[in-house]
């Protein structure tokens, strides 16, 4: 606890600390969106025809779709897709052979972010080995530990490399969880996605280290559209981390990503996110529009997918990491802390679709709203007919800090099987005055006391994070809520 508080203290006085931008030579597509652009991106990436087909199909479908505005508790202007640059990549000087050849400016960028691409320490004092795939704007720049992983048969590389090197796997799994026509933003991503990470864990392999993707938006006027595909074959296990930051800009930048997870029989995938896109300033100017489709499928029996997310950034968050529980006895989990401050808006939650027998799911969502922000939980639990003895427990708590913010809960519960047991609880309240008083009485200042209480409130979720992330997440919480106390 002592350490946690120190961490919070360190952060007091700090604002969004990833707000700088780097001067890297960029290769960008012309502004706007058309079939030409889709072809341009595909060509740029030297993609095979089937990939282009996939993109065009999604694009043509997207043209027919409407922006989903009628249900989300969000308020934002219509996005002008003709004012976005759909492809931006650091200019490659030549084929990269070793880390020495990477643009030093790029390396500096990632070092500034606290992510050393030189394959070792991640946080001072914490010795750890994490394989990182670094994605800047639209393109994966470097994947570390590739060789070590390859020894075990694990494939961990950028999505573009995977398209070239493992087309069979991509063809088989891409779009199998989130079809190219799934929803408005997924269709958009399927048409223009530029890169991302691909990960395949073969049968019976337990991935020896955490895999991680770090996303960074850098260029001005661009959107970021990456996709991640994780496949865990029979009995495999992997823990995957995702982090993201962006510079402070007055304009709103669009981020529309897709994450697909496939878990075969007895496989387990744990996906953790610390989302820290630039949230905009106090008056709501600038910030990232984060429209993300994340979905996993427990394809085989006894498989498990677990989502953990800490959402602190973005002007707008629209994100519902879901699990389709198809295999019998499969397990889905969703742990979330969503923090909104100032003018931020978040509409986030999950979907648990029970299809197999004896499937179980757990949802723990902790929302914290401060300033003039709005924070909504929106989650669906569906028990299909034939999903006998399915079990779900959901808990959604909201904490309100200040009297100008909003906290909302919109659960959807659809049950078609009588043997199911589904429970949902939600509470909304503020930080108990008695708790603050108790701390004050023992000499803990109000600000510290609130940090303490918030940390305790989120503990259930933070405990799910891998250690390095948990520390970072706690720091983030403190920064995000700074100035909202009192």
């Amino acid at each position: 606890m002592q350490k946690q508080n120190e961490l919070i203290d360190q952060q007091i006085g700090g604002e969004y600390k990833y707000g700088w931008s780097s001067d890297i030579e960029m290769d960008t597509a012309p502004m706007g969106l058309s079939e030409e652009i889709v072809r341009f991106i595909s060509k740029k990436k030297k993609e095979p025809d089937w990939m282009l087909e996939f993109r065009l199909k999604a694009y043509r479908h997207w043209l027919k779709m409407e922006e989903p505005k009628h249900w989300a508790h969000l308020d934002y202007p219509v996005i002008d897709f003709q004012k976005i640059i759909f492809y931006a990549a650091p200019k490659p000087k030549k084929e990269l052979k070793s880390l020495d050849e990477v643009d030093p400016e790029l390396l500096k960028t990632f070092e500034k972010l606290g992510i050393s691409l030189e394959e070792q320490k991640r946080l001072s004092g914490v010795e750890s080995r994490i394989a990182v795939d670094a994605v800047i704007d639209s393109v994966s720049v470097k994947t570390t530990f590739k060789e070590t992983l390859a020894e075990k048969g694990i494939i961990f590389c950028s999505f573009s490399d995977a398209v070239q090197e493992h087309p069979d796997l991509i063809k088989r799994y891409m779009g199998s969880v989130v079809p190219g026509t799934d929803n408005y933003f997924a269709a958009l991503n399927s048409a223009v996605f530029s890169d991302g990470s691909f990960c395949y864990i073969p049968k019976g392999v337990r991935c020896p280290m955490e895999l991680s993707t770090y996303f960074r938006i850098n260029a001005i006027g661009t959107g970021q559209f990456e996709r991640t595909l994780i496949v865990a074959d029979e009995g495999a296990y992997v823990s995957y981390l995702e982090g993201c930051t962006a510079p402070m800009r007055d304009e709103n930048q669009l981020h529309a990503a897709i994450v697909e997870i496939v878990a075969h029989e007895k496989a387990e995938v744990k996906y953790s996110t610390v989302q820290n896109w630039y949230p905009g300033d106090v008056n709501g100017k600038g910030g990232i529009y984060n429209f993300v489709t994340k979905r996993g499928i427990c394809l085989g029996d006894d498989s498990k997918i677990s989502w953990t997310q800490v959402e602190t950034g973005s002007a707008i968050t629209w994100k519902y990491p879901s699990v389709i529980l198809k295999g019998n006895n499969s397990v889905g989990e969703f742990y979330s802390v969503a923090v909104t401050n100032n003018m931020q808006q978040a509409d986030t939650g999950t979907k648990m679709i029970h299809i197999g027998k004896n499937t179980r799911s757990t949802i723990v969502s902790k929302g914290i709203s401060a300033g003039k922000s709005n924070n909504s939980y929106r989650g669906l639990v569906r028990i299909n007919k034939g999903a006998t003895r399915a079990r779900n427990h959901s808990q959604c708590d909201s904490l309100l800090m200040g009297d100008r913010c909003g906290a909302h809960t919109f659960p959807y519960i659809e049950i078609k099987d009588k043997s199911a047991i589904v429970e949902h609880e939600a509470t909304t309240s503020k930080i108990g005055e008695d708790q603050v008083f108790y701390c004050n009485q023992r000499g803990i200042s109000t600000e510290k006391a609130i940090g303490l209480i918030v940390n305790g409130y989120c503990k259930e979720v933070l405990n799910q994070l891998p250690m390095e992330f948990a520390v970072e997440a706690q720091k983030l919480l403190a920064v995000s809520l700074e100035g909202s106390v009192g």
Binding site: H70, W71, H73, K385, S398, L400, M401, G402, D403, R404, C405, G406, A407, H408, T409, F410, P411, Y412, I413, E414, I415, K416, D417, K418, S419, A420, I421, V422, E423, H424, E425, A426, T427, T428, S429, K430
Partner: protein
């Protein structure tokens, strides 16, 4: 000129603007009314629009003397001893004085038809009619306002406590038009108190004749310190498609308590919109639905807490058999600066069959921080341990089931404050449960 004409015109415009709620409507997500109309369009010219009275093109006619006798006999089946002594009979929305009886009404209680009120209490009507149900908020409110036929007008004057319960018998017959828009207005003045029971029943020559759509709207106004208990029994209305909206306005220190017990009807949608527009109010919403066959029952509640220091409670329970569908969509809305609100909501459902479906959407939308709001929802089957306990004590499976289901339902029924009504409801529920269990 009348005030009704322009009102109806505005409502019609609002309806045309909104149209029937489709599949994309969040509010009608689980109850698509499109299928009730089977593609039939509602054209403004098809009914006497901009009518300045409540006798819209003379659509709903008063039954003949002969029919009245028949009806009187048929209605005996729905009498509740100790409640029906003071009764108001509405046939297809038309107030039938011949069948109504109000022997125990104290001075200050006004009960008449809307049409009657339009001539006798015009200023009251003009002041309150359609002032609370927002035609822009829901297409069925708009539709009702545009076409509202006759209905009940009731006013309890300042300080009057009505000692006896008033029973409204809401009768739908074969003669009702395909789309029946009924309307009620109930006013409780300062410190007035009254208990009202409303039974909705179908009286029909043939079984399951209904198939018409009834769109009813009641506006209830509770002035300062008034207290209204409003019990709704939706029983014996097989074949009925009902969209029922109750729009309530609560003023300071008022107390509103309502029960919606749905045991019958093909497609039932109950909208309960409560606007709590002043401090120190209390609101209690209770509901019970026991469905079978292909019944569809949707309870939709909205408690709009606009001012601080109020309390609201919601308890909804459902028992679903066969291929029936149950929906509960409850929303607690706490406005900015409406501090010190305690608002609770609980929804529990038991599924008796694998073909039954329940969709629950409990929502909290909170803009004030010093509040205590919560909702809980659970769905399951009968507790196996409890069943085992009862079976091990020698109860047959049937009686064990009956006992557990009855206990489940009694949480709601026990909160009925009128003793004879509680007994009556218990009786109806036991009968229905027996039927479901034996199958």
């Amino acid at each position: 000129m009348g005030f009704l004409g322009p009102l109806r015109k505005r409502a019609m415009d609002a309806f045309l603007k909104q149209g029937l709620p489709g599949r994309k409507s969040e509010e009608y997500k689980y109850s698509n009314p499109e299928k009730l109309f089977r593609g039939a369009s509602i054209k403004p010219e098809s009914l006497g629009l901009e009518s300045v009275n409540f006798n819209v093109s003379g659509l709903e006619k008063k039954p003949s003397v002969l029919d009245l006798k028949k009806l009187d006999k048929a209605l005996q089946a729905f009498e509740i001893k100790g409640v029906s002594e003071n009764r108001v009979v509405l046939v297809n929305g038309v107030y039938i004085q011949e069948l109504s009886a109000l022997p125990d009404m104290p001075e200050g209680v006004l009960i008449c038809s809307l049409a009657g009120a339009l001539t006798d209490y015009r200023s009251l009507l003009e002041k309150h009619f359609s002032k609370y149900a927002d035609v822009e908020a829901d297409p069925f409110i708009a539709l009702n306002t545009a076409y509202a036929g006759d209905g009940l007008f009731m006013r309890v004057a300042e300080g009057v406590t009505v000692g006896k319960t008033i029973h409204i018998l809401n009768v739908i017959t074969d003669e009702a038009s395909a789309l029946l828009n009924k309307r009620n207005l109930i006013l409780l003045e300062r410190s007035a108190e009254v208990d009202v029971v409303e039974s909705t029943v179908v009286v029909s020559e043939e079984v399951n004749v209904g198939r018409n759509v009834v769109n009813e709207l009641s506006e209830l106004i509770l002035d300062e310190q008034s207290r209204l208990r409003f019990y709704r029994m939706q029983q014996d209305c097989e074949g009925l498609n009902l969209i029922s909206t109750v729009q309530v306005l609560q003023k300071a220190s008022s107390h509103f308590d309502t029960h919606t017990i749905t045991l019958s009807g093909d497609w039932m949608r109950n909208n309960l919109n409560i606007v709590v527009d002043a401090e120190r109010c209390e609101t209690h919403l209770n509901g019970l639905y026991i469905t079978r066959g292909i019944q569809h029952v949707d309870n939709h509640t909205l408690v709009d807490q606009r001012k601080p220091n109020c309390e609201s409670n919601q308890l909804y329970k459902g028992i679903l058999a066969d291929k029936s569908t149950g929906v509960f969509n409850g929303k607690i809305f706490v406005r900015r600066d409406a501090q010190k609100i305690n608002a609770y909501q609980s929804s529990k459902t038991i599924l008796l069959s694998d073909d039954a479906t329940v969709n629950t959407k409990p929502q909290l939308e909170i803009y004030a921080n010093d509040v205590k709001c919560s909702h809980g929802s659970s769905t399951g089957h009968l507790d196996e341990e409890a069943m085992f306990y009862l079976r091990s004590r020698g109860l047959s499976e049937e009686s064990a089931k009956r006992m557990l289901l009855y206990a489940f339902a009694s949480d709601v029924v026990d909160t009925i404050r009128i003793e004879p009504l509680r007994a009556y409801a218990n009786d109806l529920i036991s009968k229905q449960l027996d039927f479901d269990i034996k199958k």
